[in-house]
Amino acid sequence: LGIDLTTLGLNLNSPDNLYKTFGSPFSSEPAKGDPEYTTPACYV
């Protein structure tokens, strides 16, 4: 019958993309380190 996929540690209702904090296929720990970000040139 498969598994309850909500138990795999991913917030499937998240409004944000999951890939930014996807740490590993083999652990539900969120990714460490600075996630991706870009700052517009005028900020510098």
């Binding site: 740490g23 083999f26 652990s27 720990e29 460490k32 380190g33 700052t39 005028c42 900020y43």
Partner: protein
Amino acid sequence: DFGAIGDNLSGASVVSGHDHLYNLQMLEAAYHRLPQPKDSERAKTYIPRHPSVTPASYPQIQAPIVTNPAFWERLGSDTLSTDMLFFAFYYQQNSYQQYLAAKELKKQSWRFHRKYNTWFQRHVEPQVTTDEYERGSYVYFDFHLADDGNGWCQRIKNDFTFEYNFLE
């Protein structure tokens, strides 16, 4: 160029010179040598903009909390917190802290004016609003150090026109 590239996915795999049992044994061995979290952790090289020697008792690396978005989201809109956001924005440029500070300032209704490189916040509802601009009284953060030593404070600008094509 959107078509399937290379070998079609269907059909018996031509790539493997091994049988299923061999593959399973190798997978079993790999199972005991999974990549560990520390294998991906890259030493965070914090390069101070102007390195200077400080007493060893001072923290020598960034406190991890400054890279945690929750820390920035919790900064209130009181003056001290807002000044911290402005400090990170203007003095930690091109860093994740600047990104987080800008995000929080925007959430607190500040808007960045590209021409003046200054953050504005509506003091009252604008008197005029068109597709191109809005005009009214605004609080703005003056990060310039004026020659009388002032600056680095919030001022009010009345009858200011904020043209939207300068809105970042």
